[in-house]
């Protein structure tokens, strides 16, 4: 029987695209109908539609699908394990005493926004390269400091992401593929370097982290030759109500629980150990960077696969938002302007005080947690509009622009659906649905710090540029 004759004998089940009243007419006739949330692909731009059509060629689709399957497999199969903590100068590739790594795509001093400049000058003072912030600003502008994106050194950095030589880093090893990823330690609290604050209290904390906190963690991990399986811990944290970007209370508890026996075994003084535990307990955010390093470790393993349209990096430097795509190997960035972050603010601050979206933490969304896993964190639905339904909506909506689900990291509320994995540039441009990112808000001026948290999206331009490049590249 032909398919047309099969249709005659089936119950009609319609997908309606465009005029919505046709859906109502079908409902009136008791017919199953699904109305698409449709918008013109590529915002109706003929060049983008042409690029989408080009990538729709059956032979090219086959190549892309095969490449994307491989990329997603590598993301899912990656097993990132925390193996230690060391100073950046001792572990990060390409690190020098005068290098400052920063969040997001490449940026020069003159283009940096307030919080980024605040963090850079604070780090220069912390490293002893300048005696005060004024001198630090002068040095930063002189060209003697090497600025480079964290992402180009196997690192990620939250908010300003400013990472200098003597800061302690997480070292995360991908047990499946062998690559390493790094990120520095949470400073906890709100008036901190990564948020653009840089007064003496901030510098003093960094010194304590360098001299006590980092060394204790480092010693503790040396007593743990197996390392800590972060993917397993992440899966647990999601089941405990964290989305692991803006809510980290469960993950932090799990992580410190795993670290505690070995911290106790170190030779440091009881007072120092107590300081460490109190510091970790002072904010839920302690494990925030840890999940970023996990995500970075998994996504780096999926980068550089020819013909793949999977996004491997989303990162912001406070001025620009940049993405990298697996099929465009190396450090090819596609950028657009950094966006505003919308959400509740600390008392005393107004939306106009906000700095633009900043930080490498969107690596969590690139991996499929954070905003993508909103449905598993009902406690923080206030960030995304207030209802559980909104939160669920965000997670299911992200399936529209991703390739697969990660069976290792699941969301109980959605019948243990795996987190949406493998953002596909083609799908973003086709649907106009942009990835949702949960993030913190830093004050736009240097020296102040965190003033709120909320949600944001990448600029669509970054995806459009990537699509055009892919359509020229994939033959």
């Amino acid at each position: 029987m032909s398919k047309i004759n099969e249709l005659f004998n089936q119950k009609l089940n319609v997908i309606n695209v465009g005029i919505e009243s046709f859906k109502d007419d079908l409902l009136m006739q008791n017919t199953e109908v699904t109305h698409l949330e449709w918008t013109p692909p590529g915002r109706g731009n003929p060049d983008l539609i042409a690029a989408l059509d080009l990538l729709d060629d059956p032979a090219i689709i086959e190549k892309i699908e095969a490449a994307n399957k491989l990329a997603v497999e590598r993301i899912i199969n990656s097993q990132p394990v925390l193996i230690g903590f060391e100073k950046a100068i001792d572990c990060v590739p390409g690190m020098t005493k005068t290098t400052i790594l920063h969040a997001g795509p490449p940026i020069t001093w003159d283009k940096m926004n307030g919080p980024m400049r605040g963090a850079v000058t604070g780090a220069i003072v912390f490293e002893g390269l300048a005696k005060d912030l004024e001198e630090a600003a002068h040095l930063a502008a002189s060209g003697e400091i090497t600025f480079s994106p964290c992402h180009e050194h196997n690192c990620v950095g939250s908010m300003a992401g400013v990472t200098s030589a003597s800061m302690y880093m997480h070292i995360v090893e991908n047990k499946t593929y062998g690559n390493l990823a790094y990120t520095n330690l949470s400073e906890q609290l709100s008036k901190i370097l990564r948020m653009g604050a840089n007064d003496q209290s901030v510098i003093d904390r960094l010194i304590w982290m360098r001299d006590v906190f980092g060394p204790i963690l480092s010693e503790a991990m040396k007593l743990n030759p197996d390392g800590i399986d972060l993917r397993l811990m992440l899966a647990q944290a999601l089941h405990m109500g964290d989305e692991c970007h803006n809510r980290n209370v469960a993950g932090t508890t799990l992580l410190i629980q795993a670290l505690t026996p070995n911290i106790l075994k170190t030779d440091f003084s009881m007072d120092q150990k107590i300081d460490v535990f109190e510091f970790v307990a002072s904010s839920d955010y302690f494990s925030g960077p840890t999940w970023m390093a996990l995500a970075k470790c998994a996504l780096d393993a999926a980068h550089g696969i020819e013909n793949s349209t999977i996004v491997t990096t989303m990162a912001r430097n406070g001025t620009e938002f940049g993405i990298r795509v697996s099929g465009m190997a190396g450090n090819t960035w596609f950028t657009g302007p950094a966006q505003k972050v919308i959400g509740p603010m600390f008392a005393g601050y107004k939306p106009e005080d906000s700095g633009l979206d900043i930080g490498d933490s969107a690596i969590t969304e690139t991996y499929g947690i954070g905003g993508f896993a909103m449905a598993t964190a009902p406690a923080i639905v206030a960030l995304v509009g207030g209802t559980i339904e909104d939160a669920i909506g965000y997670s299911t909506n992200m399936k529209e622009i991703t390739t697969s689900e990660n069976p290792n990291v699941t969301i109980p509320l959605l019948n243990f659906m795996g987190i949406p994995t493998g953002i596909d540039v083609r799908k973003v441009v086709q649907t106009g649905i942009l990835p949702i990112i949960n993030t913190a808000i830093a004050h736009k001026e240097a020296g102040i710090g965190m003033i709120g948290a909320g949600i944001t999206h990448p600029p669509v331009e970054a995806y459009e540029k990537a699509l055009l490049a892919l359509s020229e590249n994939i033959k």
Partner: protein
């Protein structure tokens, strides 16, 4: 200015919820500043920074809930605390829908394995891409969109043909699949007659007549208006005939179209010849001989097509109400019209309905003009100015640029109707009123005030103005057929029982000196 704090020991709220509550608390009248937060070091630091530190806050623990308010007076602080208490108890009760939303045909097709047909009505620039996606996902397609290139249509239809899928359209407004009306179609009985139509309102008309004769429809496949052109080669019509031939429920097949391109006509006729089931052919203005030679049943007009189909399907002729033309009425109206009232003005929302009425007039008059005349000599020079006998299809592209179809938005036709009614050379105005899914909820009602107005005007001028109205619809349609007809009659409009009769009545009313 005063700062007051309440500390609730061992009361936990998530920090994000509290930030949201803080935001709301800051909007309470009289509040200078408010913070609601857990007593963590970080929060206490923030409170210190913004000058909201109090002794109670100083000693609060991280498990304590802190509410701090800064206001002009103690009283204002007190009332703010009460309002904040209410914020804590107020829950968002809005019930959002958590049903899954899809943005692309591909994801919907994947998420709904039972989906079998896509109805696509988007701007023509995006339509081919969406239709292709649907076909690639093994969905049958009804493509309502117009302004799709002929090249895209060929490509889509070839792809559909290869995959054995329906590719109805582009510019397909009418179909009935499995007794479900799609886009613009009427609610008709299930039966044994299958239709393949390249003309939307032509198909609607035949399906409604079949229903009125007491029979019904198996499937009504739309092909889009260009299917029988040389370039397309009738791909959809040929596949449609084949599918209906193989369909057990279908006993009789009806084909509806403008006359096909010669090469396509040959293919269609060849298929009719092979077909095991009787095929009725209504090609508006088409050739009878060729159809007969191919073994088909030729119909010159719509009601005739329906009648032939129902008889072939087994209806008993003597039991049918054929709705013969009202001959005494013709005499009556002719007597009322003056010799100057010579012309017909047909104002149609349905293209094929217009075409049929126009061809009826062309049999007796050689000065019939239209915006859809195939002979350029008889095409209106200015679509806004009528000439002699004029038939206008308001659904034609030149009237619908940037406007909804006249079956949805009757405004253009209403103003033209008033214009025509003022013309002393006009003897009769004939109009269609299309009911069914997709159509205007009260098409007659929309025209009624204009009808009253012109009737009054004609009366003042001492001339009779004859208006014929035809309501295309069934008693099962969402609009109320009976009510629509009654509104026409009450306004003094002559009701035609079919489009065929509407065309014939209009023509006969203005025939002079027979």
């Amino acid at each position: 200015m005063t700062v007051q704090a309440i500390v609730k020991p061992n009361t936990y709220f998530d920090s994000v919820s509290l930030m949201s509550l803080s935001t709301k608390a800051n909007q309470i009248d009289g509040v200078e500043q408010a913070i609601i937060a857990m007593g963590t070091e970080m929060n206490k630091e923030v409170m210190k920074n913004v000058g909201l530190m109090t002794p109670e806050v100083e000693v609060a623990k991280s498990s304590d809930l802190i509410i701090v308010v800064k206001a002009e007076t103690d009283d204002l602080c007190e009332s703010a605390f009460m309002s904040i208490d209410e914020l804590f108890t107020k829950k968002d009760t809005s019930k959002g829908k958590s049903e899954i939303k899809y943005s692309t045909i591909a994801s919907a097709a994947q998420g709904i394995p039972e989906a079998n047909l896509a109805v696509i009505a988007v701007n023509g620039a995006y339509a081919p891409r969406e239709a292709r996606k649907a076909l690639e996902n093994n969905l049958h397609v009804m493509l309502f969109s117009d302004n799709v290139s002929i090249e895209d249509e060929i490509e889509l239809k070839k792809l559909a043909h290869e995959k054995g899928l329906l590719m109805m359209g582009p510019d397909c407004g009418t179909a009935i699949i499995g007794n479900v009306a799609l886009c613009f179609a009427n609610a008709v009985r299930k039966g044994s007659i299958g239709i393949v139509g390249a003309s939307g309102t032509g198909s609607q008309e035949v399906s409604v007549r079949i229903h009125e004769f007491g029979c019904g429809i198996t499937q009504m496949i739309g092909t889009g208006g260009r299917d029988l052109r040389e370039e397309i080669g009738g791909i959809m019509m040929l596949d449609g005939i084949k599918a209906l031939e193989e369909d057990e429920a279908t006993k009789v097949i009806v084909l509806i179209s403008k006359p096909p391109a010669p090469s396509v006509e040959e293919k269609v006729l060849a298929q009719i010849k092979q077909c095991k089931k009787p095929v009725v052919v209504w090609f508006v203005g088409g050739n009878e001989e060729k159809v007969k030679q191919a073994g088909g049943h030729f119909a010159k007009m719509s009601k005739e097509a329906a009648l032939k189909a129902v008889l072939l399907a087994g209806a008993e002729e003597n039991k049918l109400n054929k709705r013969a033309l009202n001959i005494p009425l013709i005499e009556e109206v002719r007597a009322k019209l003056t010799p100057e009232q010579k012309y017909i003005r047909g104002l149609f929302s349905g293209g094929t309905l217009c075409d049929e009425a126009m061809h009826t007039a062309m049999e007796k008059f050689d000065n019939v003009y239209s915006n859809i005349q195939r002979d350029p000599n008889y095409r209106l020079k200015d679509k806004n100015i009528s000439q002699d006998h004029t038939f206008i299809d308001f659904g034609d592209d030149e009237f619908t640029q940037g406007k909804p179809h006249p079956m949805i938005d009757p405004s253009t036709r209403i103003s033209r109707f008033i214009q025509e009614a003022k013309d002393p050379s006009v003897g009769v105005i004939v109009m269609d009123f299309v009911l069914g899914y997709g159509a205007h909820e009260d098409p007659v009602g929309a025209m009624l005030p204009a009808i009253m107005e012109v009737k009054q005007l004609a009366e003042q001028e001492g001339r009779h103005l004859e208006i014929i109205g035809y309501v295309l619809g069934t008693e099962l349609d969402p609009q109320n057929l009976e009510e629509q007809v009654e509104k026409l009659l009450a306004a003094g409009v002559t009701r035609a029982s079919s489009n065929q009769n509407a065309g014939l009545l209009a023509r006969e009313f203005v025939v002079k000196g027979e």
